[in-house]
């Protein structure tokens, strides 16, 4: 009975992703949830909430990144954070839909806000190291290039999906000198660079981040070389996890969604993400401002409570 609903949901999500490849998967998920809310024919608010939760779970099953689940939860909290005392259900729904549109508007501006904050930290003549393909980092570097700053970038290849090459292509289009390095060459190249900027798939309660595998290594090496390690992330990526070490990250985030569904023995699969503890991060640039890792918990308490 759920099948057609599920199919519609997933189709819409995929369509959104295809329409705008530059959009974060979490934003596409939130758009899908908003559409789902509009189409939902539930009778009670509690039922509405339950079905939204179910929809978020489905989407997490489709794309297992941390941002989708955190974005979904924040969306749900944001729309319910208003007084839903109206008698009429349709009026409540309308209020929730308006809040949903507001939320979407806010987060679509978030990348611009982050770029505005971060580009000032890139000085003229800087050499930057980044990891894998991150659209937020790309936007930051675009803004810095637009401000007529001269800088060069080293990108790691980021196996197993060679996403780094995609990043290098995009940077070449901006006329930024870029070099692709092996993942194993991070320690070798670090003495030449001035700063390291990476994106994040999720920002956890301790102030650490969850990102593509290889980020932790880069953070440890930059700490050893005393180079600043900056993270750029939008605020909907803040998630209520608290991993103590690499093992403590839940399996549902570590592997791709299809792997989780098909493979029996996960210990043979290679994880796609790793956890970087807050002690290795210098600053986080978010649309809520420039934060130190210990301030993330403060912001999370404000967002979630």
């Amino acid at each position: 009975m759920m099948e057609p609903k599920y199919q519609n949901l997933v189709e819409y999500f995929r369509a959104q992703m295809r329409k705008d490849p530059d959009m974060a998967s979490a934003v596409a998920a939130i758009r899908t949830l908003l559409e789902f809310l509009k189409r939902d024919k539930g009778e009670t608010i509690l039922g509405l909430r339950e079905s939204l939760k179910w929809a978020t779970d489905c989407l997490t099953g489709e794309d297992s990144s941390v941002a989708v689940s955190s974005g979904g939860e924040l969306f749900l909290r944001f729309i319910s954070l208003t007084s839903l005392e109206h008698q009429d259900l349709s009026r409540c729904k309308k209020v929730m839909e308006e809040r949903g549109e507001l939320f979407l508007e806010k987060i679509s501006m978030s990348r611009t806000k982050v770029a505005k904050l971060c580009h000032t930290f890139i000085k003229d003549g800087a050499k930057i190291l980044t990891h894998s393909y991150s659209r937020v980092v790309l936007r930051v570097l675009e803004k810095a290039a637009a401000e007529k700053k001269r800088f060069s970038v080293y990108v790691t290849e980021s196996q197993p999906d060679s996403a780094g090459r995609q990043m290098a292509e995009a940077l070449r289009k901006l006329n930024v000198p870029v070099t692709v390095v092996l993942d194993a060459a991070v320690g070798y190249v670090l003495e030449k660079v001035d700063l390291v900027i990476v994106g994040a798939e999720g920002v956890v309660e301790s102030g650490g981040i969850i990102n593509k595998i290889g980020t932790y290594q880069m953070a440890v090496c930059s700490k050893a070389h005393n180079k600043p390690f900056y993270v750029v992330a939008e605020s909907f990526k803040f998630v209520r996890l608290y991993p103590l070490n690499q093992q403590d990250v839940p399996d549902k985030f570590k592997y791709k969604a299809d792997t989780l569904k098909t493979v029996q023995n996960l210990s043979e699969e290679h994880p796609m993400i790793d956890y970087t503890p807050p002690s290795l991060i210098t600053l986080l640039f978010t649309d809520l401002g420039v934060l130190t890792p210990s301030a993330v918990s403060d912001e999370l308490i404000k967002l979630y409570l």
Binding site: E205, S206, G207, Y242, L244, N245, D248, P278, S279, S294, S297, D298, I301, L305
Partner: protein, 549 residues
Amino acid sequence: TDVIIESSVGYFTEGPERKDDIVKAKQEGKELTKEEKQRLRKEKKQQKKSKEKKDDKPSRDSEKEKKPASAASPAPQTPTQPPAQKAPSAAPAPVPVPASETPSAADKPAKSKAELKAERRARQEAERASKGKKGDVGPQAAPGKPKAPPSELQPVVKRLPEHVQVDNPEVLKKLAKKLERQQTPEYNAATKIPLRSDYGYKVSLFSHLHQYSRKAPLTQQLGIPSTVIHPAIVRLGLQYSQGIVAGSNARSVALLHAFKQVIRDYTTPPNEELSRDLVNRLKPYISFLNQCRPLSASMGNAIKYIKKEISNIPSQCKEEEAKRKLLNCIDCYINEKIVLAAKAIAKYSIEKISDGDVILVYGCSSLVNHILCEAFEKNRKFRVIVVDSRPRLEGREALRRLVQKGINCTYVLISAVSYILPEVSKVFLGAHALLANGYVMSRVGTSQIALVAKAFNVPVLVCCETYKFCERVQTDSFVSNELDDPDDLIVTRTGTTQLEHWQEVPSLGLLNLVYDVTPPDFVDLVITDLGMIPCTSVPVVLRVKNVDQ
């Protein structure tokens, strides 16, 4: 009724004349009008002030006897000199003033007025000078602080709590006076709260703290019958000082139960309001308990809560109803902040315990034991390593509780911690208090375990309820701590007592510390009833709690 009248009379006066007036007024059945009450309060304040001045003068005399009269200039010139000397340095201010007064010591009664004038002028100059150069006073005041009385002459410097100024005789005298004043009704020597004296040689780094002997509990010095202190509180004080009730949660709960008994036995005296009188009744009890064993942070927060609840009782509330309300409040507090909090913390902690874990615990924390027992009931497969240390050997109690549940345990002493740590996957620690700068105050030895665990990259989790969060800031274990009975260190496991006559060796000191502070860099996670937070977010929780209240 005679007893009740007398008990309320004791409040107002020190001199016999006023007492007669008031006894007369009360026995006539008239209630004191508002103006009379205000007048009485004013007079009481004035009498206090004059008494303090009298006390200060002899104390300052004794102080200047110790100091050499270096800047001794002839008496008539001296009143003008100190103000001039004030301008350059405010901190050595107390030294020139008493030094200049030494020549006038001979004809004190005649010079008393001039002296007082000079003192007052000197004080004003000091205040003006210190207000002008606030920055200068700070570093200069710091070396001068232990010598000078902290309150009068240096208003810029914040007053230190008296329990960390044990080596300053001024402060001890003030404390004795305060205890005298706190006795409510009968003021004969047998019923006042005695000032407990220190025992044995104190190591110089900790000479600013009290060190009591367990063989001389305060209760031996109380007269019988002790009508000032409620018997439940006397019993509690004895239990604290002998170590029968130990552990931060146990002490708070025992305190709250004793206060419940006090409230049940309390009757409002006539012409008094419950909200104000009860709070004043509790003050001597709290000083008494503080003398038996210094109050813990959790006890301090509990007392603050009770005082707030009592003072919020509306005046038109009848006594029975008010008492019932208070008893209810206390029960709620215990239930919410301790019992339910433990359940919430256990729920969060179980998520962090996975199958195959090897968990290290230190000493006996009621909360950590509760968590481990709960996790074991939820069928998590783990084993525990209990680390223990002399002289308290509290780990044995924890070991007993865990083994009774059927948990697989290992027992080591703290000296073997670096040997056993490579096997450990997580460390669970309890806390006595969490300070506002993120430091964890806990049983001595905790910071050592956290340090070694950090060196081995083992995650350290601290479990603490929010009622133990305190607004204090501390960065080391010296400034505020508790010294236990040094005689506890004498006997070793084999029963040898080579240190038995340690007091006779002049260069030997025994140190038995109770608490230490762990910096937040060594702690990975704090589990509270509000959820899992990093150690640096403690001030956020305090802020949220203050907003709630």
